[in-house]
Structure formats: C-alpha cells, structure tokens
C-alpha cells in the first residue's frame, strides 16, 4: 500500500447560504494523477480552491502528507496551482516568473539561477527566458505556468482545466508533456476538468462529481465502461438511457419488451453499441425509421424513431447507408448494455 498524499475528511464548503460542497471525503496516493471531472457548478473548482487554501471550508479537515493544513494560510501550504488562464506575472520575464517562488524562499542567487534554468528546460522553455508573458504563445504560457509551479517542488500540484485554452493539436502535445513531467518528477497531481476525454486520457483515477458530491470514482476504463448511475452514464456518453419496468424498456414514446432478463432500474447503450439492419433478425428485432443521418468521418450518426422514441446510433461507413424516412430494424445487444439502479 502506497503512502497517502492528500486526504479530505468530510469537507464542507459554502458560499454564504449556498452549500457548494456538502460532505466530501477523498484520499489521494503519492504520485497519483487524479482528475476531478464534472459539469460546471459541480463543485470541482471549489474543492480545488479549498485544497489550495484560497477558500476556507466551513467544516471538515484537509490533510497533506499526514499534517492537518485546514487552517494553514495558502502561502505556507507548499501546494502549486496552474491556473486556467495561467496567471503569469505580466511585468516579469519568463525567467523571473519561474524564479519568483524561489526568491520567496530567499535562496542563494546561484541556486535560484540554476534551478530556474532547470525548470525552464524541463518544459523546453530555456531559450525564452528573457521574454515577457505577452510575447509568448498560449502553449508556451501554459508550459511556463507549469514550470513556475513545479520549480519550488510543491508537495502537490493542482491544475485548473489545464488543456481547455489550447487548440486540438497543442492539447495532445500538452497532455503528453504533463504525463512526462509527472513521470519525471513523481509529483502528485490533481486536475480539474469538465472534459471527459481529457480526464480519461490523462488521469490514473477519475473522480466524477455532481452537485458537490462524488458520483463515481475509479480508473478511467471503469468510469468509461461501467458508469454506475444515470448521471454518470449520461455524462460518459451513453446517449440511449431507458427505464426498465418488469422487463420492459420505457422511453418517452412507449415501451418495448426486453429480449433478455435484467433486474436493474435503468439500462443504457452508447450510440456505437446498437445494431442497425435492413431486415428484422434476432440481433435487430425492433422496427424503426431513420429520422436523420449525418456523416462523421469514419462513421455515420443516425437518429432513429421507434417504439421507444428517439434512439441514437452510430455505424461504420463500411456498412450500407440508410436514407432518412427508410424503415429499418435495430437491436439493443445485452453485451453492450450497462445497468444501474440510480
């Protein structure tokens, strides 16, 4: 069993009369890369700010490396934070931005110089040491912000939506960069995101949050494949979610008898888990009609209407094309269904 880095015990955070986070307990191992995932307003940023000490929790305890830091001021916590908008110091050069934390520790000049340059090199920013933040691109600013937080060797690094301000190509690069830096430094990282792809691609463990509470927690594959609630399934892209009542699926338009047995309260399928065919068969027993179809590169996205109401379905472009208004048959295979009770 590895050592615990950060532990939250029954944390409660409120803004005036509104309780943003009612009762949160969570424990993070040393060297772990954890994602706090959820839609806006789910309390993920609030939680992160409380960990950093920028917000005072109304109840509960925050433990870092076994020490209670609940009431410790933010500037003594030894926690780094990479802000969503980077929050670089506009009046200082890249070098001085990174050196800032070391200067606060009043280290000898030679050591500051050496560690600052090493920090800049870690994110390949050495040759931009003399530039001001305004003279750097978004990706460079992001890397600079990362170096500034890392150079002081914090016990924990927090990242607020680290990839959201970057374009698609830079996002991939930065993702690899973050993983590499994490491997090289072995630092514990918590990052906040609303993007499931970002969370799944980067984290060792994902905490899915909803209205200030943990909805589900687990490794990316588990969160992706086995959502354990209606909310989790919906957030993870299970676009076909139906209520189950005495083995009948219930949709907005009507009911369908399930071809297999299940006792769960809900069943859900991803659009690519459904079967689409021209003729009725055991694997495609339900009649429907193509309402709309759109081309999406490697696959086509169909919206079907049938006895349940609307069903979303993806099929490879190698399969035959079904034009709108065509009668078709679709199947809801048991092995692609996820079941949950809440």
């Amino acid at each position: 069993m590895s050592e615990t880095s950060l532990a939250l015990h029954n944390l409660q955070i409120s803004y005036g009369d509104t309780i943003a986070v009612p009762d949160l307990s969570l424990s993070i191992r040393k060297g772990e890369l954890l994602a706090l995932l959820g839609p806006s307003g789910c309390g993920k940023t609030t939680t992160m700010r409380a960990i950093a000490g920028l917000l005072k929790p109304s109840a509960g305890r925050i433990m870092l490396d076994g020490r209670d830091i609940t009431t410790m001021p933010a500037n003594r916590r030894d926690i780094g934070l990479v802000f969503q908008a980077y929050a670089l110091f506009p009046h200082l050069t890249a070098f001085e931005n990174v050196a800032f934390g070391l200067r606060m520790q009043k280290l000898p000049t030679a050591e500051i110089r050496q560690r600052t340059m090493a920090g800049l090199e870690l994110v390949s920013m050495g040759r931009f040491a003399g530039r001001k933040p305004a003279e750097l691109s978004g990706g460079q600013q992001q890397r600079l912000a990362l170096a500034r937080s890392l150079v002081v060797n914090p016990k924990l690094l927090l990242l607020d939506e680290p990839l959201s301000n970057l374009d698609a190509k830079l996002r991939l690069e930065m993702r690899a960069e973050l993983q590499r830096v994490q491997k090289e430094t072995g630092i514990t990282m918590i990052f906040v995101t609303h993007d499931q792809g970002e969370a799944l691609g980067l984290a060792d463990r994902v905490v899915l949050m909803r209205e200030g509470e943990i909805e589900q927690i687990g490794p990316p594959a588990e969160i992706y494949n086995q959502p354990n609630s209606l909310f989790a399934a919906d957030f993870m892209g299970f676009e076909n979610i139906f209520k189950l009542e005495d083995n009948h699926l219930t949709g907005p338009a009507g009911r369908l008898k399930l071809p297999f047995k299940s006792r769960a309260k809900h069943l859900a399928w991803r659009p690519d888990g459904l079967v689409l065919a021209a003729r009725k068969s055991a694997s495609a027993p339900f009649a429907g009609q193509v309402e709309a179809v759109s081309f999406a590169g490697g696959h086509r996205e169909y919206i079907l209407s049938g006895a349940l109401g609307r069903v979303r379905l993806n099929q490879s472009v190698d399969e035959p094309f079904f034009a709108p208004d065509k009668p078709v048959y679709f199947g809801l295979p048991q092995d692609r269904a996820v079941a949950f009770d809440r």
């Binding site: 950093a52 000490g53 920028l54 933010a74 500037n75 003594r76 916590r77 926690i79 780094g80 934070l81 802000f83 908008a85 929050a87 670089l88 110091f89 506009p90 009046h91 800032f100 934390g101 606060m104 520790q105 500034r148 937080s149 002081v152």
Partner: protein, 259 residues
C-alpha cells in the same frame, strides 16, 4: 456627399467653439499694447517677460505647484489602497463608498469651498493653507480612486493568488505584483490629479487669505487691478504646459485609456 459636408461643418464649428477662445488668448498675449485687447495691438513677446517680474505670480505659482504635487501624492497614498480594497474585497457598503468617493466631482466646487470655509476654517480654526491643502487632496481623491480602479480591473486577481501560492505574503503580493502592474494607472492618476488641482478655481476662491493664493485666483485678482496682456501670456503658457504634460503622458503610457 452634401450630408458629409454638413457633418464636417458641425465638427469644425464645435472645434472652433472649443478651441477658439484659446487662440484669442494667445493672440491677445502677443500684443504690444498696454491693455488686454483683441485683435492685438502690434506684436511683441514683452508680456511674457513681464510675468516673471510679478512677485505675487511667483509666490502663487509655487503654492499651486505645491498643492498639485503633494495634494495629489497624499490623495494617491489614500486612493490606491482604497481602490484596491473596493476592487478586491466584497466589502459591505462598497457601493456606497464608491458613490461617496465620487461626490466631490459631482458637488459644485463653490459648495465644497463654502462648506470648508464655514466648518473648518471659521469654527475649528484650521489655517487657510491647511484647509486649502485638505481641499485639494479631497478634490483629487475621486480621480485617484477611479483611475487606479480601472487599472486594477485589468489585473486579474488570479495573478495575485498565483503569487500567494508561491509563498508570497499579502503585503508582498501588493508591492511585488499589484503595484508594478498598475504603475501606469498610478502615473495617469497623478497627471490627472495634478492638472485638476492646478486648474482648480471655485474651492480655492473661498480658501484664500493674505499671501495665500493659488495661481488662478491670483490671476483673477491681478486682472481686477491691472488689465494688461500679461495674464493672457500666463494663461497661454499654462495651457501649453498642460498640453505638453498630457501629450507626453499619452505617448508614454496611453493616458487616454485610463481617463
């Protein structure tokens, strides 16, 4: 096209209306005659020389400079922290404070001057000089708070949080991060405050005493006795000085975006 002509006519006549008197004063200041007149009577620079011979001008210029420089500095010493507090903390009644800070801009100077005379100088026995200093500081304060506020609004607060998390204290954040980033705003506030204080008439009118007169008041007094073109020469000189200051400020720090 005729509509465009009309628009230009309106623009030009407005400009003429605004700047016209200024040109008349300059023309009058270049007169060779003995009294203030337009059109000028001959051409000479002799009235510009005359200004420096008038002893009271020298004294009142010194007082005006002192009030403008130190009054504005004191206003900034109070105004910068006030602007910071109003911007960064959810203070109860912040809106009320903001309105009150703007009051001296809205309330006519005559009333401010009268009030200070009636309630500070007469009953409390504050000296005229001290009251004058307090009045100028108070008049400049709203500009200081407003200009510095707009500068602070452009500085995201997460920058301060970033410094805090790197181990910086509250005071350290203010001096190392906030102050360097609002330097241009503070300079702009200083210039605006300086010009406001230097050109102030109504309040200073009430707070004048023997030997204690600001330059504009002194010029008024001088004109009542001596109606020669030296006042026009002095006015022209001051106007050019103001234009020069604002021009340099604009070139150096884009002054107009703060005002």
């Amino acid at each position: 096209m005729p509509r465009l002509y009309l628009q230009w006519m309106i623009i030009l006549s407005s400009l003429l209306f605004l700047i016209g008197p200024f040109f008349i004063i300059i023309a009058a200041s270049l007169s060779n005659g003995e009294s203030l007149a337009f059109p000028p009577d001959g051409l000479s620079f002799r009235w510009y020389g005359k200004i420096f011979e008038v002893e009271s001008f020298r004294q009142s210029f010194g007082l005006s400079m002192f009030l403008a420089v130190f009054g504005t500095i004191v206003a900034l010493i109070f105004g910068v922290p006030a602007a910071y507090a109003l911007n960064r903390y959810a203070l109860p009644g912040a809106e009320t404070v903001r309105t009150m800070v703007a009051a001296p801009v809205i309330v006519p100077g005559i009333i401010v001057g009268l009030a200070l005379l009636r309630y500070l100088v007469v009953p409390v026995g504050f000296s005229v000089s001290l009251s004058l200093f307090l009045a100028h500081t108070a008049l400049v304060l709203p500009y200081a708070v407003r200009v510095v506020s707009s500068s602070l609004q452009n500085l995201p607060s997460d920058i301060e949080e970033a410094a805090t998390l790197l181990g910086c204290s509250h005071v350290g954040v203010f001096f190392r991060i906030v102050l360097p980033n609002i330097r241009a705003g503070i300079l702009a506030a200083f210039i605006l405050g300086f010009v406001t204080s230097f050109n102030q008439v109504p309040v200073s009118l009430f707070l004048s005493g023997p030997g204690v007169r600001t330059l504009p008041i002194d010029m008024l007094a001088y004109m009542e006795i001596t109606y020669d073109p030296s006042v026009a020469a002095l006015s022209s000189l001051l106007a050019f000085l103001s234009i020069l200051i604002v021009f340099i400020a604009e070139k150096l720090l884009g002054f107009s975006k703060y005002v």
